[in-house]
């Protein structure tokens, strides 16, 4: 009897957790998709990466739902998913397996100085800059997302801004 009660409870909890993750998906999908777009390259399959982010959440619902800030947790996963995608792309390019960029992509990259400048920043600085300046996350939220102390967030942001400005001036 106890076992069946536990099973029902587990199913009920899971259904509840699924519902809550779904709410988070509807609430943050656009923001996370935009962040992924900013952290990757033009032409990247952002929808696929967005699904990867929420697959992580679905496989570990307790982690996201009990996080201090579920939003920061999701954006943290998004930065890691984007980083993984860039790494895979670099490996594919290394072995000559990368897709050839279309002329449209090339034109977009040259036109968009910010996009180009962002690619020149280190991963850590770029993540902080994008989350703060473009996504509007607070310092503590970014600290939770990228897993570093708050002061480190401000340091990275300071250097990221300086490097971005220098890069924009060079190409602007």
């Amino acid at each position: 009897m106890d076992a069946s009660v536990d099973t029902v409870q587990a199913v009920s909890n899971r259904t509840e957790a699924l519902g809550e993750v779904r709410e988070l998906y509807l609430l943050h999908a656009n923001g996370i998709a935009a962040t992924l777009k900013r952290l990757t390259w033009p032409g990247c399959d952002v929808d696929d990466l967005l699904q990867e982010v929420f697959i992580v959440a679905l496989r570990r619902p307790q982690a996201v739902l009990f996080a201090q800030s579920p939003k920061a947790w999701l954006f943290g996963v998004a930065t890691r998913v984007a980083s993984g995608a860039r790494r895979k792309r670099r490996i594919r390019n290394l072995f000559g397996l990368g897709s050839v960029q279309s002329p449209m992509d090339a034109r977009l990259e040259s036109a968009d100085v910010i996009q180009h400048a962002l690619t020149k920043l280190s991963t850590r600085k770029r993540d902080v800059l994008v989350l703060f300046e473009l996504q509007g996350l607070t310092g503590p939220e970014i600290a939770q997302a990228v897993g570093c102390p708050l002061k480190t967030v401000w340091t990275r942001l300071h250097h990221a801004r300086k490097e971005l400005e220098a890069e924009v001036r060079r190409h602007g």
């Binding site: 779904r22 697959i55 910010i114 971005l164």
Partner: protein, 281 residues
């Protein structure tokens, strides 16, 4: 908190933000939620694929770096020669592990090895053949015989009157099992050599120097070109020194240098002998 961005950079950033913004209606996400759920329930094939790939690469590397064993290894002082896949052995011991086929001819028998590992030991008047791995075929004047892994045969006497001993399992004794070692030492081949040598060393270690000298001299008499002949000689000279017989020990050292001139320990034995005679009155 950090300072603000320069206005022109901020403007560019806002333009970039507007360009990269995603503003899909909630209905779109509700539609894709089902796909997302379905995808999350699929097994993680990528992980298994990666593990499989790592296992395959590791196995390939292990196979690639495996150094093939030397097909024919002879004991010190063995008299043998090889022409193509035929090895003539007249005295001493050969350990054989051919990659393909090899035929060993001794005064008492002929052995054909195919993908097998065997030990052939020829002493005055007998040949010991031990199969270590695989199955081997040997021929004597009395016919053709098979030997399985773990069995050995002793063929003695003149080629026209060979006596074939029944196959005997190769004995394995613990180092401290003196009764087992004594029993094996009475036999022949590598097992007997090893047992006799171990008995001699054990006797020396427990202080029975006379018994150690007797056993090591017996080893030398029975297996002059045995696998442990150099070790037995060194053990004998040290035992003689301990027994207060430096002259006999020096003679054994001289004998060692003559019998095993290519032994790596020759220079040490020479130096030891010089020191030994310096202290002799």
């Amino acid at each position: 908190m950090a300072e603000e961005l320069a206005p022109e950079v901020k403007a560019s950033l806002e333009q970039f933000a507007a360009r990269t913004a995603v503003d899909r209606p909630t209905a779109h996400h509700e539609r894709t939620w089902g796909l997302l759920l379905e995808r999350s329930r699929r097994p993680r094939r990528a992980r298994w694929f990666a593990l499989g790939a790592i296992a395959a690469v590791t196995a390939a590397l292990l196979i690639a770096v495996r150094v093939p064993a030397e097909p024919v290894r002879a004991s010190t002082g063995a008299r043998w020669q090889q022409h193509d896949d035929v090895v003539q052995l007249s005295l001493g011991q050969l350990r054989l592990q051919p990659r393909d086929h090899v035929r060993v001819v001794t005064p008492h028998l002929e052995v054909d090895l195919y993908n097998a590992r065997a030990l052939v030991d020829v002493t005055d008047g007998q040949t010991v053949l031990a199969a270590e791995e695989g199955e081997i075929v040997y021929r004597t004047a009395r016919g053709e015989w098979h030997l399985k892994a773990g069995e050995r045969v002793v063929i003695s006497g003149a080629p026209d009157a060979v006596s074939v001993a029944a196959p005997v399992k190769i004995a394995t004794c613990g180092d401290g099992d003196a009764a087992c070692l004594s029993r094996v030492a009475q036999g022949s081949g590598l097992a007997a050599e090893m047992a006799l040598y171990k008995l001699g060393v054990a006797a020396r270690e427990r202080g029975s120097l006379d018994e150690a000298v007797r056993l090591l001299r017996e080893y030398r008499a029975r297996f002059p070109v045995g696998t442990f002949a150099p070790e037995a000689s060194v053990a004998l000279m040290l035992t003689l020194q301990s027994a207060g017989e430096p002259v006999a020990a020096a003679a054994e050292a001289d004998d060692f240098v003559t019998r095993f001139p290519r032994e790596p320990r020759v220079s040490k034995v020479r130096a030891w002998r010089t020191q030994l005679l310096e202290v002799v009155p």
